[in-house]
């Protein structure tokens, strides 16, 4: 900028520096606490110099909370949610923006209402659906009298049952079922010029061709941003995995944090707890650091 504002610049730096310290302090404190031994971590005040037990604590936390398989589960679920959102949202946004069909606006609102009510507020009945994912369809058959009819005609009693508790689809699918991504794509598709579609049609491209050869390559920025944001969001889910994974083989990393809280009255093993926290914090932090540029770029593109 052209003018000189030494006083303001000084304040800018001061405030940013304070913000910087506040931002980074919890990470540092977690890392330092993770390097102490039991006595040092409970010292008043705790020493801010790193201790020497870092790797021992990391190993203990890793073994105690059985983090290997849990981190793998987190990767599978977060990756699945990100991929599901990126693909399904693109398909839906294409349908909403590029076609005219009866009931299109109704469908539009049907999908966008899902943005208002996240999983947490309908958690109890969603749990029941995942316990038997076909129960809505069974209920429809029962209510319409179809299951009675089928039983009369064929003698087969219809009882649809497919439980998804303690399974990857059960963890992933309900998290995919909202419109966040659809909205992002819609905003982007609307900024694309009509000439693009016209040219494609002139060249004899059908909708499928246009979608794959024109729209998808143009949406790369959005896909990267959406994929990243959804990966982080799914990795950080807590309530849902806590509920539907009753057996440890499908538990996710974040839900294991609760096991690491030192018991009241027990040995305050904060060094182990902080080592575990550090391990669980690290993968999403890495994703943010690597994808930083894409996240901001994807957001700017949708603002236009």
């Amino acid at each position: 900028m052209v003018e000189r504002t030494p006083f303001l610049n000084f304040f800018t730096h001061l405030i940013l520096f304070i913000g910087f310290v506040f931002c980074i302090a919890p990470f540092l404190i977690v890392a330092i606490a993770a390097s102490h031994n039991l006595k040092d971590v409970n010292d008043v005040p705790m020493s801010l110099l790193p201790g020497s037990d870092f790797w021992v604590n990391i190993k203990t936390a890793w073994v105690t909370a059985d983090l290997g398989p849990k981190l793998l589960n987190s990767f599978i679920v977060a990756g699945g949610v990100a991929a599901g959102k990126v693909i399904i949202s693109a398909l839906t946004a294409f349908s909403i923006v590029y076609f005219r069909f009866p009931g299109r606006m109704f469908m539009f609102w049907l999908i966008f209402i899902t943005l208002m009510l996240p999983l947490e507020v309908r958690i109890v009945p969603t749990y029941a659906v995942v316990a038997n994912v076909l129960s809505p369809y069974q209920a429809i058959l029962d209510l319409t009298g179809l299951s009675w009819l089928i039983e009369k005609v064929s003698g087969v009693q219809v009882s649809l049952n497919l439980g998804l508790l303690n399974s990857y689809p059960g963890l992933i699918l309900p998290l995919v079922a909202t419109a966040t991504g659809t909205f992002l794509y819609r905003q982007f598709f609307l900024t694309l010029p009509d000439e693009l579609t016209e040219a494609a049609r002139m060249d004899g491209a059908g909708p499928l061709r246009f979608f794959i050869d024109v729209l998808l390559p143009l949406s790369r920025n959005n896909m990267a941003a959406l994929g990243t944001i959804m990966f982080l969001w799914a990795w950080n889910q807590y309530l849902w995995p806590l509920l539907i994974t009753t057996d440890q083989s499908h538990a996710m990393a974040v839900t294991e944090l609760k096991q690491l809280i030192p018991n009241v009255g027990g040995t305050p093993e904060w060094h182990i707890a902080m080592a575990g926290t550090l391990i669980i914090m690290l993968p999403p932090l890495l994703v943010v650091v690597l994808m930083q540029r894409w996240i901001v770029r994807g957001l700017i593109a949708t603002e236009k």
């Binding site: 900028m1 052209v2 800018t12 730096h13 405030i15 940013l16 931002c23 919890p26 990470f27 404190i29 606490a33 409970n42 008043v44 005040p45 399904i88 398909l91 349908s95 909403i96 590029y98 076609f99 005219r100 299109r104 469908m107 049907l110 999908i111 009510l117 996240p118 507020v121 309908r122 958690i123 109890v124 009945p125 749990y127 659906v129 995919v176 419109a179 659809t182 009509d194 579609t197 016209e198 950080n236 807590y238 309530l239 806590l242 974040v254 839900t255 944090l257 809280i261 305050p268 707890a273 902080m274 926290t277 914090m281 999403p284 994703v287 943010v288 930083q292 996240i295 957001l299 603002e303």
Partner: protein, 294 residues
Amino acid sequence: MEKRVTFSSWTIGILFAVPQLLLIFTFFYWPAGQAVYWSLTLQQPWGGGNIWVGLDNFRSILANADYWNSITASLVFAGISTGLAMFIALVLAALTDRQLAGSRLYRVVLIWPYGIAAPALALAFRFILAPEAGFLSVVNRMWPGIWDPGLDGADAMASIIVAFSWKYVGYNFIFFLAAFQAIPRSLIEAAAMDGSGVIRRFWDIQFPLITPTIFFLLVINITESFQDSFGIVDIMTSGGPANATNLMVYKIYSDGFKGLDYSGAAAQSIILMLLIILLTIFQFRFIERRVHYG
């Protein structure tokens, strides 16, 4: 906004939307409808039918002092943490947008909290804010008992607000930064040429242009403070002490899954949904008017 050029084959158009429609029917509309139905019946925990009771569930919830306490706690939490997280993020983003030496480094680091899971953060802050270990232990040594989130409700509330705001400063910062960066440099430079100072430029040019982002974040932050707070409460306070931090979403969970009161939890879910919808409508009605869409 509509497209002029579209594809005519509408069966294909609908086919593209089928996966999404199936998913939201199964995992959104059906459960949401079920919640309404359950809230009007008395549901036996492990099957065994249910009895129609009309609005009785709502009556008994609304007659319960614990529930009103949980509404108050949620509103206090939402108000303070949203205010803090938005104000701090806005100041930091406005300052990093100025091109000074080092603003790039600040930008990189200030985004980090966005990536951290709320529960992980909660455990970190539980340690940092613990009365007997961590950092506030020093304060407690000087004035014994002044800080104890395990016994004092206000201290517990302050702890969860700090943890939540800390994460959302990072989240809001990204959006504010993107909004500031989308403002054409030439606009600000032209104003500078005309002799308007930094603060003047902020209020006259930048601030009006980012009001859509402010509004968007306000809606998101308030909504999230009703839901994303679950992990923080569960790890830091478990709703205690004496229900001081028993926020609405936590109460739904503990009544529904620990107390096995499905009907009561369903009725609470309906009230929470209505509250979120009302707050959203209110914001659109009264605040969006002041938003400046470019």
